[in-house]
Each structure stands twice: as structure tokens, then as C-alpha cells.
């Protein structure tokens, strides 16, 4: 078969924007009305600029602007006569595409029989005049929510079917605007038929659809000059620059959903009066209820779809009570839906950054401020480039001190190392090599001013030789490698550390950090299990330094002679019947994997869930830098992606046999 090239696309009838004087808006209005459309545009009413039906250009808010701030809206006179020199008011196209009350069904009930007749709307043809990029983004969101799935809201679909949009690119902004962060403005990119940018010169009008081209052709406007075009581009760009990037969207979903227990939810609820203003001015909020109005006999019923709000007390009510009885739960539901869970449901955030919820909140709660407080962007941890970062290279360190911890475990202090080692973080490890033996991943059990400390159990030939090193001996090191315990996440919170055996070694730097800055953390509890009393590591710290620093230390051993008066049994017995509250506690766990599984289960039973529990894993490693392939676990490399993971991150792979 011979392929023939497709015919060239027809050139647009009109290339580039046209210029209209401000008075040229009336002919446009006339054209839209002649097309049988109700024109919904901005007008001044009740002390605000609202959307309403417009028949004459005289109704437009010529020369009006506004002063907006959290909880504040005032009309102000502009010094010029711009038609679109205002920022968004309380009303949005939602009032026409998704009215606050529409009948959806007529029903009857008579002598035990019932009937339902869906009401099919006969909406007017509408043209929106003057709506902004963020509002078009909101319409796109409603399109997805209300008609993008398997079930369609027929009323919305009918109203939306023939809407024509004459949009305005923003050359003004309010302090409450944040479309730039949400990716919805201020530039007009899609979804409109005609785009207007208003400058001091007048109106630059550009068609984006055939319907728009027809209108533009009928307006017989001249082509805009390059200078006029440049001014329009500049004014919209200046708007973007003025707004800046007030909401850190990348990663916001994950950061927010990780904070269901943040104290700020309760704090904001102290101010929130759960009035639902935010949801009624929001252009994307779509939650509704069905209200029924009946005749006196109750036989003829009209079912109305009415706007509802997740802030209303009855919103989450069932026969047994409300699932979200507390204001903090309702605020969290609203904010996390807008900025996080909406994305899972519909592919984008449910917020377009119009700022209406900020302006129209009677107590001035600012969504941007709340999101930043509850889900702050943590400055990225400085990346410590490991030293000797190729499989064949090792930095040479010198053993400066040796301490025998137990019969088979030795602690080596290593100094004269590259400063990168000392800048490592608790939980990281080093690949350690002696020529003639395989390189081994060894936990760093302390960071010192000019080096680090390794605690090694002599379990095989290489580790036994390492344990036998003497002061002055040299050893090869690569590191510091891998992820760290998330100390920033637990700052200000309660921390539980559960370790077994040699597993205390990678947690000692965490305890060092607690001792160094005790005020940074809430309560800190260490539960440590060893094989026998003689196998307990770091006795000085366990018995002196840590308890004196206000760390609650509890020890247990698997077996003991009669000289041991402490607990004997598994480490979980130290806390499974304790009375502390785990609902806001974080846990760090290290030990043999089977012990960690039992611990994670016991912690979960105490209310410490997968997102607040971290473990460190051990796997065979030859390189420690993601090149040798040995330490794979599912989709993770333990060396690069770990060794510290949250249980939520590991999911089902944690504790599964043979992964």
C-alpha cells in the first residue's frame, strides 16, 4: 500500500492577535448575544466584582480594582479605565455550570408505589466573558470529576456542552493569588475560544478555536503591532513574577499525607469556624447533597442537588455519628483533598490557586500558610559525596584506638580520614576493606571530628581480622554511604529505638545526636535486647551516659545466669505492655530481620504505623554504590536506596521470604 502524505493543515484565517479598543468590547457582546448566548461577565454588585449576566459594556467594572488579603476584600478605584483591571471576586463560572441548587429528579410516592423521573436540564447557551486562566483550569477539573469517569452528572454535562469562553490573561494579581504554583496561570494556554490581554493600549484579542476565529473575523479588528504584543507579553510575565511561587507543590502531596497527626490541624481548628465559605467560593469544590421538597401529603417530591461542604457537621454523618465530628478533622479533610488525595482520584490537585478561600475566609485562614506549616519543604540534606566512590578505590584510614566490646565484637576508632566521613549522618555505613579480604559493609557507630568509629562483630574471616587490628594499623574505607535515620522528621516528637544484638551500632550515632541536643526531641526510649548480659555493647553509654541524658534505657537478654537481675526475654516484652502513647511516636528499629518483624508488629499494636517506623536492612554488598547488583530487594538497592527505610516504603517486601 502506498502511503500518501496528509494534506497540509489549513493556515489559520487570522494570524496573531488583533487589537480592539476598550470600546470595541460592546460589538463583541452584541455578537455573543446575537449567537443566542447569555453573556456572563464581571460587574460591580454588593461591594464586590461578581459574575452576572451582562447585556451592555457599561455594566463592566471599568476603572475598578480591588484590595484583597486573607479575610479582606475591598473595591478600589483604579487610576485608569481598564475593563479587566480587577482580581477575581467571590463568584466563579461554577455558579452557572454547576449551580448551587438544581432539580435532578421528580418523584412520587402513592399507595406504596414510587416513581422517579430524572429532570433533564434545558440550560441556556452561555458565553463567559473575562474569566481567567485559573478558572478555566477549574472548569477542566470539573470536566474530569463530573463527566470524565464512567458515570456522568447529566446536568453539568448539559450546561457545559455549549459554553463559549472569552478569557482574560492576567495583568493584575492579588496578594492571595498562587496560580503560578498550581500550574494554572496567569497565562491562557487552553480551554478558551478567545483570549484577551488588556494593556494600557487596549485589548489584544486572539482566537484559539474556530468559534473564536469566527467571532474575531466579525469584529474586523486590525492586527496588533509588535509593540502592542510585546507590552501584553510583558504585562502577563510581570504578573507571574509578582505572584512568585508561594506554594511548594512538588512533593506536597506526600508531605501532607505524611502528617495526619500534625498539631497544626488542631491549632487551625481553633480559628476555623467551619462556616464553609472556602468551599462555596472554591471553583472546584463539587460535593453536593440531595435535598427533597415535597407537597404537604408527601406524595410529590422534587429532588434537588445542592452544594454541600465537608465543613458542615452533617457531611460525614451516619446513623452511629459523624466520622469527622471535630473541626480539625474537617479542615484536614478539606486541605488534604484539595492538595493531595484529589491527585490520586483525578490526576491533578483539586486547587487552581485562585486564592478565593483565602480572601473569603472570615477569619483569614490562609491555605498557603497552613500547607507550609503542616508540610514544610525540608531543605535537602546536603549530599555528602562519598570518598573513594569507585569499586576499586578505598581511602586509607588509621586505627587510632581499639576497644573490645564483647567476646566477639570490637570497636575500632579510625582517624586521619577525609572530612567527608566526619560529615556523614547517623545510619550511614562504610565499605571496609583489608587487602586480601572481601570488602564489607560496616555500620558507622559514631562520627568523630577527624574520622569515625566502626563496631564490628567477628563473624567470618574478614571481620575477625578486622577485629584483630591494632592501633596504628591501616584499613581501606569507602563512604559514608546510604540513607540516614530521619532525625529531622522526629525532631520535637517522641522517639522509640528498638535494637537487638549488634543492631545497636548503627543507632549509636542517633543516641549521640540526642545527647548532643536533648531539647530537640521529645521523650526518647531505648529498648535493647542481647543474647546474654556479656553480649551487651556500649556498657558505658547504656548504664551512664544515656540514662543521665534523659534517655529511658531498658535492657533484656535472651538468657542469663543467676548473676543477672535484669529482665530476660524478647525485646518486644519491654514495651508491648507499656503505657506510653504511641499515636505520635516515631520508631527506629535495627536488629536481625526476624526480630525486626516481631518488633514492627508490636509497634503497630502500640499505634506506631508503617509511615512512622524505620528499619535498617542488611544485604550482601560488594561495592556499596549501586554497581555490583548484590543488595537488590524488590525494586530497591539496599546500598543506595537504604539501608534505612520506612516500613511504608518497603511495603510487602519487608519480611517476605526469598526476596
Amino acid at each position: 500500500m502506498v502511503m500518501t502524505p496528509p494534506p497540509p493543515a489549513p493556515l489559520p484565517a487570522l494570524a496573531g492577535p488583533r487589537f480592539l479598543s476598550r470600546d470595541g468590547i460592546q460589538p463583541l457582546l452584541d455578537l455573543l448575544r446575537a449567537d443566542g448566548r447569555r453573556v456572563i461577565g464581571p460587574t460591580v454588585a454588593d461591594g464586590a466584582i461578581v459574575m452576572d449576566e451582562i447585556v451592555s459594556a457599561d455594566q463592566l467594572p471599568r476603572g475598578w480594582g480591588d484590595d484583597q488579603a486573607p479575610g479582606r476584600y475591598r473595591l478600589v478605584r483604579r487610576e485608569d479605565d481598564r475593563l479587566f483591571g480587577y482580581n477575581l471576586g467571590p463568584s466563579s463560572p461554577k455558579a452557572w455550570t454547576f449551580p448551587s441548587l438544581v432539580p435532578i429528579s421528580r418523584a412520587t410516592r402513592s399507595e406504596g408505589k414510587v416513581t422517579f423521573d430524572p429532570v433533564l436540564p434545558e440550560p441556556p447557551k452561555i458565553a463567559f466573558l473575562g474569566i481567567r486562566a485559573c478558572e478555566i483550569a477549574a472548569l477542566r477539573i470539573h470536566d474530569r470529576v463530573l463527566q470524565g469517569g464512567p458515570f456522568v452528572d447529566t446536568d453539568y454535562a448539559a450546561r457545559r456542552a455549549d459554553t463559549l469562553i472569552v478569557a482574560v490573561g492576567c495583568t493584575v494579581s492579588a496578594p492571595t493569588c498562587f496560580c503560578t504554583s498550581m500550574g494554572s496561570g496567569p497565562e491562557l494556554t487552553a480551554g478558551h475560544d478567545l483570549a484577551i490581554v488588556e494593556t494600557e493600549d487596549g485589548l489584544l484579542v486572539e482566537a484559539a478555536t474556530p468559534a473564536g476565529e469566527t467571532l474575531l473575523a466579525a469584529l474586523a479588528a486590525r492586527v496588533a503591532t509588535p509593540e502592542e504584543r510585546a507590552r501584553a507579553t510583558h504585562e502577563v510575565a510581570a504578573t507571574r513574577a509578582r505572584i512568585g511561587d508561594p506554594v511548594a507543590l512538588p512533593g506536597l502531596k506526600e508531605r501532607l499525607l505524611a502528617q495526619p497527626d500534625h498539631p497544626r490541624w488542631a491549632e487551625v481548628a481553633e480559628r476555623c469556624i467551619t462556616c464553609g465559605s472556602c468551599t462555596s467560593v472554591c471553583p472546584t469544590c463539587f460535593c453536593t447533597s440531595v435535598t427533597q421538597t415535597t407537597d404537604l401529603a408527601g406524595a410529590d417530591v422534587v429532588m434537588n442537588r445542592t452544594w454541600d461542604s465537608c465543613f458542615s457537621p452533617s457531611f460525614a454523618k451516619v446513623a452511629g455519628g459523624s466520622f469527622r465530628s471535630r473541626p480539625r478533622d474537617r479542615y484536614r479533610q478539606w486541605l488534604t483533598h484539595k492538595l493531595a488525595t484529589w491527585e490520586d482520584q483525578f490526576g491533578t490537585p483539586g486547587c487552581v490557586g485562585c486564592g478565593r478561600c483565602v480572601t473569603w475566609c472570615p477569619v483569614g485562614i490562609d491555605l498557603r500558610e497552613e500547607a507550609a506549616a503542616i508540610a514544610p519543604v525540608r531543605p535537602p540534606e546536603p549530599v555528602i559525596a562519598p570518598v573513594a566512590a569507585t569499586p576499586g578505590a578505598f581511602a586509607v584510614g588509621r586505627v587510632s584506638a581499639v576497644r573490645s566490646e564483647t567476646a566477639d565484637t570490637t570497636t575500632l576508632a579510625i582517624d586521619r580520614l577525609d572530612p567527608a566521613f566526619a560529615a556523614g549522618r547517623p545510619g550511614q555505613f562504610a565499605m571496609v576493606d583489608l587487602p586480601g579480604f572481601p570488602p564489607l559493609p560496616i555500620s558507622i557507630s559514631r562520627f568523630t571530628a577527624d574520622g569515625l568509629v566502626l563496631t564490628i562483630r567477628g563473624a567470618g574471616p574478614a571481620t575477625r581480622v578486622l577485629c584483630g587490628l591494632q592501633p596504628g594499623d591501616e584499613v581501606g574505607l569507602r563512604g559514608p554511604l546510604g540513607t540516614a535515620w530521619p532525625l529531622d522528621r522526629v525532631a520535637g516528637r517522641d522517639l522509640v529505638i528498638v535494637t537487638g544484638g549488634i543492631g545497636l551500632a548503627p543507632l549509636r550515632p542517633v543516641l549521640d545526636a540526642v545527647v548532643a541536643d536533648r531539647e530537640r526531641f521529645g521523650s526518647v526510649r531505648l529498648y535493647y535486647g542481647a543474647r546474654t548480659p556479656a553480649d551487651l555493647l556500649f556498657r558505658d553509654e547504656l548504664e551512664g551516659i544515656w540514662p543521665h541524658a534523659g534517655i529511658e534505657v531498658a535492657l533484656t537478654v535472651d538468657r542469663a545466669g543467676s548473676d543477672w537481675s535484669g529482665p530476660v526475654g524478647v525485646v518486644t516484652h519491654l514495651f508491648d505492655r507499656a503505657t506510653w502513647d504511641g499515636s505520635a511516636t516515631h520508631a527506629f528499629v535495627c536488629g536481625p530481620e526476624r526480630m525486626m518483624q516481631a518488633t514492627v508488629a508490636a509497634l503497630a499494636a502500640r499505634g506506631i504505623g508503617a509511615a512512622r517506623t524505620w528499619v535498617t536492612l542488611e544485604r550482601h554488598m560488594e561495592c556499596g554504590i549501586g554497581l555490583c547488583g548484590h543488595c537488590q530487594m524488590g525494586s530497591l538497592f539496599i546500598c543506595k536506596d537504604g539501608p534505612v527505610f520506612s516500613i511504608a516504603q518497603l511495603g510487602d517486601t519487608f519480611g517476605r521470604e526469598g526476596i
Binding site: 542469663a560 545466669g561 543467676s562 537481675s565 529482665p567 526476624r594
Partner: protein
């Protein structure tokens, strides 16, 4: 711990006996008496008859077993809130290990014979108490299995 009300309240403060129905709690307290013992007291001897089921209030009880040439090895300690002497409820009513108070002990004890008779004649008491004993014993059994794995041993130590 010298009156009935204190006894009931003390029992209710332990995880073993917390949340019992008032009638059950009263019945149990009627059988109970507080005991104290200095550190070093042998409470039960492995293989001998178990006369008392005890709930530790304060202190620590070591459960020990004699291993030839190793002496007495402690395999578990009973901490506050937990029970010792559960063999008082299970034939042949003989202790499975030696129990020694290794810290000064305050406990509430139930005479085995009287408790068994009460459990036999009072189904409500039996229905309330047996699951708690079973829970305490199963918690211990699960832990013992983990201990048996000897997880903290060096790699080359294999006992099978």
C-alpha cells in the same frame, strides 16, 4: 493492700486483670491475698507442686531451669502485670521452672485449689479468667520461640 477494695483496684491496674467485670473482679479478689518477698526468695521449684497463681505487682521474678554444668539459667523474667505459677491451673499442677524473686516482690496470689474450685463452679469467672491466662501463656510461648531462634548469635553458631 489490706482491704478488699485496694485488692480489687490493684488487680485492675495490671494488664493481666484489667477490665474485668465487677462481679468477676470481686469474686477473684475474695480468693486473693497480697504477698511480699525479699529478693532471693524461691517461690516455686521446678517439678514441685504449684500451689499459687501469682500476679506480679512490683519486682521481678526469674524463671530458671537447671542445666547440668551450666547451673541455673534464667530463661524468662516475669515483670509487673504478668503472672507466674500458671501451672496451678493445668494438670499435673507442677511447676515447669524454678521461680525466684530477683528483686523485692509484691504480688497478689490465688491459692490453686480454691481457684480451681471457683473456676469449676462459676462459669462467668472461668470465661473471664481462662482467656487471660491463655493470652499470658501464648505471649510467653511466642516470645520463647523467638528466643529459641537465638537470633543474636554469630552466624556460625547453629544448634541444629
Amino acid at each position: 493492700m489490706n482491704d478488699q477494695a485496694t485488692l480489687v483496684a490493684t488487680l485492675a491496674s495490671t494488664w493481666f486483670a484489667t477490665g474485668l467485670a465487677p462481679a468477676v473482679s470481686a469474686r477473684l479478689a475474695a480468693l486473693a491475698r497480697p504477698v511480699s518477698a525479699p529478693a532471693g526468695t524461691v517461690i516455686l521449684r521446678e517439678g514441685e507442686g504449684t500451689d499459687l497463681l501469682g500476679v506480679v505487682i512490683t519486682g521481678r521474678v526469674a524463671l530458671r531451669t537447671l542445666v547440668p554444668e551450666r547451673g541455673e539459667a534464667t530463661i524468662l523474667t516475669v515483670e509487673p502485670g504478668d503472672i507466674y505459677g500458671w501451672s496451678a491451673l493445668v494438670p499435673p499442677y507442677r511447676a515447669t521452672s524454678t521461680a525466684v524473686a530477683i528483686e523485692p516482690l509484691e504480688a497478689i496470689v490465688f491459692p490453686g485449689t480454691a481457684l480451681r474450685a471457683a473456676l469449676h463452679e462459676d462459669p462467668a469467672l472461668a470465661a473471664a479468667l481462662y482467656p487471660r491466662v491463655l493470652l499470658a501463656v501464648s505471649r510467653r510461648l511466642t516470645a520463647t520461640r523467638l528466643q529459641l531462634l537465638d537470633l543474636y548469635a554469630a552466624e556460625q553458631v547453629r544448634s541444629w
